[in-house]
Symmetry: C2
Subunit: 378 residues, 2 copies
């Protein structure tokens, strides 16, 4: 494999397929054990072979963050897509066009106004949309609180308007701020209990709410029980990254995405290597900045993927990266890492780094390298 | 124009063409007055109509940050390209292939090893490459110090190896850390004087060094004299952004790039608007974080482009933005910004935000909107 990693144009986004498959199996096995379906969030990879590997391992449908992802999945034979961003009225025609092609697209809302817009448009076009109500389980972003009177009002609006109220869904995004198992288990339980309570509140007034969907990678990998939940959504588990490593839900050897880079120069006095992995390759994501270990723009590894302890991509301009070494080991940088030598950088956030590339290079365990394209834009 | 901004799919990257043209004219007029050529850095836009507008206004050639940009420019009739990232040996075959197609491509190096690799490859393929030596004028990244003995050694290696030593070039990237005119003028003078001194040192030993290239948007817009300089490179001046606003080289009404977004929800108790402009649209660039005014993920404007004072895109997840208002004005968010209403967000860093989009929507002064594609990847 190294031979090929020695010849690819850099910077390049490298997927370690064996690691990816292990990550997929681990999450699927966990969900199977907990008795829930897994609906992977494809915003992480936006890449068909990755999504197909998730489906092949047992996933039931997918989650998307844009309608373009939905269209891409449908066009490639993946049915049952949940668009997990609150539906804007202006995007309803695009959603309708997909449904008219025979595809099954779920949408979400978290407000009376949003529900009314969906009902009005659905009725106008004689379409009964599949709608989920978004629940706020941790105050971090969007969704309705369980005790908000609007929750039942939204459910009633949808049912009275002849939409299909499929269920409730939530995402405990604040799990990203945690870094110990007990807190993660507690957050997973909060996410579960809150979403189940919302479903029960809807059922208690005689309305249907068959599905209960929760999830984030940290909570999905920590939950002790998912009683009352029917499906879990998670995305970054497929690649994992330094943020997830800091949270504590994976080991260094689980990280499946890295950026292959070339050394283009040195500032020997400062102990710097200059590389062609700037922020255009890594993204500007500094997700580990506030975590227990700050990896700057990424952890430096050998081209074979072994961590070089203390070597970080400390700085990033558009197409220039700066690697520093801590502690300085008195080594001769020019000899150990001459111009033209190659390294791999593990990213803070796989979703953000992947998005910088038109395609991945997927490295099989047998050394084969495949080009896997990914979606860009909306 | 507002009518069209009301119908575009969101998020969308909007170029205000009148502002862009004004920015182009301003920089070109400045360079004309200072008696130097302007070689715009196209890494900012990576977009042909933008580059063509720069050329039409009087630019002489372009600067690129990747060989893909060089290829794109050549294929579209733009000659004379300088690839301004130190040439990695592995990229030489790609450069040679472009030169063999008849294109004029300059490359840079800042080390003896780099120069030797260029010479070896050039001689092997009977090609005399146009090479510039990169000078470090502010210790911020790459380049050779004027007093580094390697400077003359590199010049000698190139000339002895029958390469064309075109000149010296530098980029005072630390100008981005400044925010007052006097410091900017001083940095511009440091950039100029250092690069001119490097050229003189080379000429003093009897080697050719006809060209002296300097530049960054902050120094280009601040320099009082460019004596001895032959050309200036600058990129972000074409769009400008909040970082440049904080540095003090432009006014709010100069910012030509913004992200059109839709309100998708509210957290009324918190005074939050939820939008579809997450970091996938804005990028993760937080360039104003350490500046005198932190704009979080961007300054919120009306769809017409008027700043809403105190309204910031405070948070960004992948496809969700969170807008907050300071001071809270006791307004009814749901009435003033209902679901489906539109806003525009000015970005911290135009280069990073533009890179998130496959195309721009260019809004003419007469209200016409054109789709301008841009490059992605390497």
């Amino acid at each position: 494999m190294s031979a090929t990693l020695e010849t690819l144009e850099t910077p390049a986004a490298i997927i370690d397929v064996a690691r990816m498959q292990r990550n997929i199996q681990r999450m699927q096995a966990r969900m199977d054990t907990l008795g829930v379906r897994l609906r992977p969030h494809v915003k992480t990879s936006k890449c068909l072979p990755v999504i197909q590997a998730q489906i092949a391992a047992g996933a039931s449908g997918v989650t998307v963050s844009t309608l373009k992802e939905a269209e891409y999945c449908f066009a490639n034979g993946i049915t049952n897509v949940l668009y997990a961003v609150a539906m804007a009225p202006g995007k309803l025609p695009q959603a309708l066009a997909l449904i008219h092609q025979g595809y099954r697209l779920g949408m979400i809302t978290d407000s009376v106004a949003g529900a009314q817009a969906i009902v009005a448009f659905g009725q106008q076009h004689d379409e009964s949309f599949e709608v989920w109500i978004e629940i706020d389980s941790d105050s971090h972003r969007s969704g309705l609180k369980v005790n908000d009177p609007a929750l039942l009002q939204v459910a009633q609006e949808l049912c009275a308007g002849s939409m299909q109220l499929v269920g409730v869904m939530t995402h405990a995004g604040s799990s990203y701020e945690l870094d110990n198992l007990q807190a993660l288990q507690s957050m997973a339980e909060q996410e579960r209990a809150t979403c189940v309570a919302a479903a029960q509140a809807i059922r208690a007034v005689g309305l249907p709410c068959p599905q209960v969907s929760v999830g984030s990678t940290p909570t999905a990998l920590s939950a002790l029980s998912l009683e009352g939940v029917t499906e879990v959504r998670a995305g970054v588990y497929v690649f994992l990254d330094l943020v997830m490593h800091n949270i504590g839900v994976c080991q260094p050897e689980d990280l499946a995405l890295s950026v292959l880079t070339t050394v283009i120069g040195h500032q020997a006095e400062k102990g710097w290597l200059l590389t062609d992995s700037g922020w255009m390759a890594m993204s500007r994501d500094r997700g580990t900045q506030k975590q227990r270990r700050d990896f700057a723009y990424g952890q430096v590894c050998t081209v074979e993927g072994d961590w070089i302890e203390g070597a970080l991509l400390s700085g990033a301009n558009q197409e220039h990266g700066i690697i520093t070494f801590e502690p300085e080991q008195g080594m001769d940088l020019l000899t150990r890492f001459p111009i033209g030598s190659r390294l791999r950088i593990l990213p803070n956030h796989a979703c953000a780094t992947g998005a910088q590339f038109p395609h991945y290079h997927a490295c099989d365990i047998d050394g084969g390298v495949h080009t896997w394209s990914r979606l860009h834009g909306w």
